[in-house]
């Protein structure tokens, strides 16, 4: 998991505007390489998300998109939801990092509902996946019950079609290309065959 988070964090350059989903993605902010400074967007209405506040210094008007107390860094700014999604849908976010239930070799993403079971709603995810310049999925390679998540074709309702660019899991890094998924990196200690065995989609291997 630590590898996954660190690996995602290597995808950014200083000045990038990034929106991090709830869960694993949020941890990315604390794992950035030395010297890299990104600008975090929180879709509930500000840029310049800072670290969690000190105990006793919480401000009930300053919470992140997960509803947790947050801070705003110097140079940050606040806006309404219309501006927030103008930023997101308008292509002004360089990258978003989101979790997934399923992702497939066409770059389709399913992350917001399991029919008859879990329907929390899509929140801002559909806009983020459509609008961000790069969509990075950060997740465990397989489900807790062992079910496959990197598929030939998503079976759950989609969050968006053909928008995913990169999939980073605990097993490796996969790029979505017009010719399917290219495994660019394998987590140290694993083999290509081991990753493919946990993946429904066909992987081609091309180390960078």
């Amino acid at each position: 998991m630590e590898w996954l988070v660190k690996r995602v964090a290597q995808e950014f350059n200083t000045g990038d505007v990034v929106n991090l989903g709830i869960g694993i993605p949020t941890k990315v902010a604390n794992a950035l390489p030395e010297g890299i400074k990104i600008i975090l967007q929180s879709e509930n209405g500000y840029l310049g998300v800072g670290p969690a506040p000190e105990v006793g210094k919480e401000d009930s008007d300053t919470v992140n998109a997960g509803g947790q107390y947050a801070t705003i860094l110097p140079g940050g700014c606040c806006f309404d939801s219309a501006m927030s999604f103008a930023i997101i849908r308008g292509g002004h976010v360089d990258a978003t990092v989101l979790g997934a239930l399923q992702v497939d070799e066409e770059g389709n993403l399913a992350s917001w509902m399991i029919p008859g079971k879990m329907v929390p709603g899509m929140g801002g995810a559909m806009d983020l996946v459509v609008g961000a310049q790069r969509v990075i999925i950060a997740m465990e390679h397989t489900a807790k019950n062992g079910g496959l998540k990197v598929l030939k074709k998503c079976t759950l309702p989609l969050t968006a079609a053909k928008q995913v660019n990169l999939i980073v899991t605990d097993m490796g890094v996969m790029e979505v290309t017009s010719k399917g998924l290219v495994l660019k990196e394998i987590t140290p200690g694993l083999t290509f065959e081991e990753v493919q065995a946990c993946t429904e989609a066909s992987l081609s291997y091309r180390a960078e």
């Binding site: 929180s42 879709e43 509930n44 209405g45 500000y46 401000d59 009930s60 008007d61 300053t62 919470v63 992140n64 998109a65 997960g66 509803g67 947050a70 705003i72 606040c78 806006f79 309404d80 939801s81 219309a82 927030s84 999604f85 997101i88 849908r89 389709n108 329907v119 929390p120 709603g121 899509m122 929140g123 801002g124 995810a125 559909m126 806009d127 459509v130 609008g131 309702p157 989609l158 969050t159 968006a160 079609a161 053909k162």
Partner: protein, 224 residues
């Protein structure tokens, strides 16, 4: 022109069967005292338009728990399990909408637009039943305006002309909803005289606001 009224007088305008917009994002920026009064008054059969239904226990969540709402239009209900339960049990009609779409639909209503074209939702179940248009080779969904009878907002500061100022992430849907309802009620922390807010500082022009309600200090309830 805004009027400063009591909580009771303001909420007396919220009637059974109305469509209600409520600002806030998981509780932040939600007008808690206005919501408590709606619950207290026992208004039922509301159509609620809001980003979410709060966190179980907060004022927003109580609208659902106390069954004031028969139809919900929201983007996310995961932080209030009772909403999911009522939806699964067919006790509550729920329409889930992408957040960027919902806020543009509300803005369209306030801005006199007949709709907007968004790429969000293309290729998903969100597109079901909607008109699709192709512009410059890209497919878009036509999303229609969303209007309400009453909007309940929370502001940090207001002047007696109704001009509103929000603070930090508590702004969210509030200024957009202010434009899209027949009657706009704002719960305000600080109410000042006309002229005390600089014209450039105003986030919602006073002409949108009908009632100002002064937020009441509450006794902190200590266990034991």
């Amino acid at each position: 022109m805004a009027q400063l009224v009591s909580l009771e007088e303001a909420i007396s305008k919220v009637q059974h069967g109305m469509t209600l917009m409520v600002g806030g994002f998981i509780g932040c920026g939600a007008p808690d005292q206005l919501l408590e009064e709606v619950c207290q008054k026992g208004v039922k059969e509301l159509t609620l338009i809001a980003n979410d239904t709060g966190i179980l226990g907060d004022a927003m969540s109580q609208l659902i728990v106390q069954r004031c709402v028969s139809k919900l239009i929201a983007t996310h209900i995961g932080t209030n399990k009772e909403t999911g339960r009522q939806m699964s049990a067919d006790e509550l009609e729920v329409k889930l909408v992408p957040q960027g779409t919902l806020v543009e639909q509300i803005r369209a209503a306030g801005a006199g637009l007949g709709g907007i074209l968004t790429p969000t939702g293309i290729g998903t179940i969100v597109e079901e039943g909607k008109q699709k248009l192709v512009v410059n080779g890209t497919e878009y969904l036509l999303e229609l305006p969303v209007h309400a009878n009453v909007a309940l907002l929370k502001a940090y500061k207001a002047d007696m002309a109704g001009n509103l100022v929000y603070r930090r992430a508590a702004r969210n849907f509030n200024p957009i909803m202010a434009m899209a309802a027949d009657l706009v009620i704002a719960q305000v922390e600080h109410i000042v005289e006309v002229g005390e807010i600089d014209p450039d500082e105003v986030m919602t022009p006073g002409i949108f606001v009908d009632y100002l309600v002064q937020k009441q200090p509450r006794e902190v309830t200590n266990a034991g």
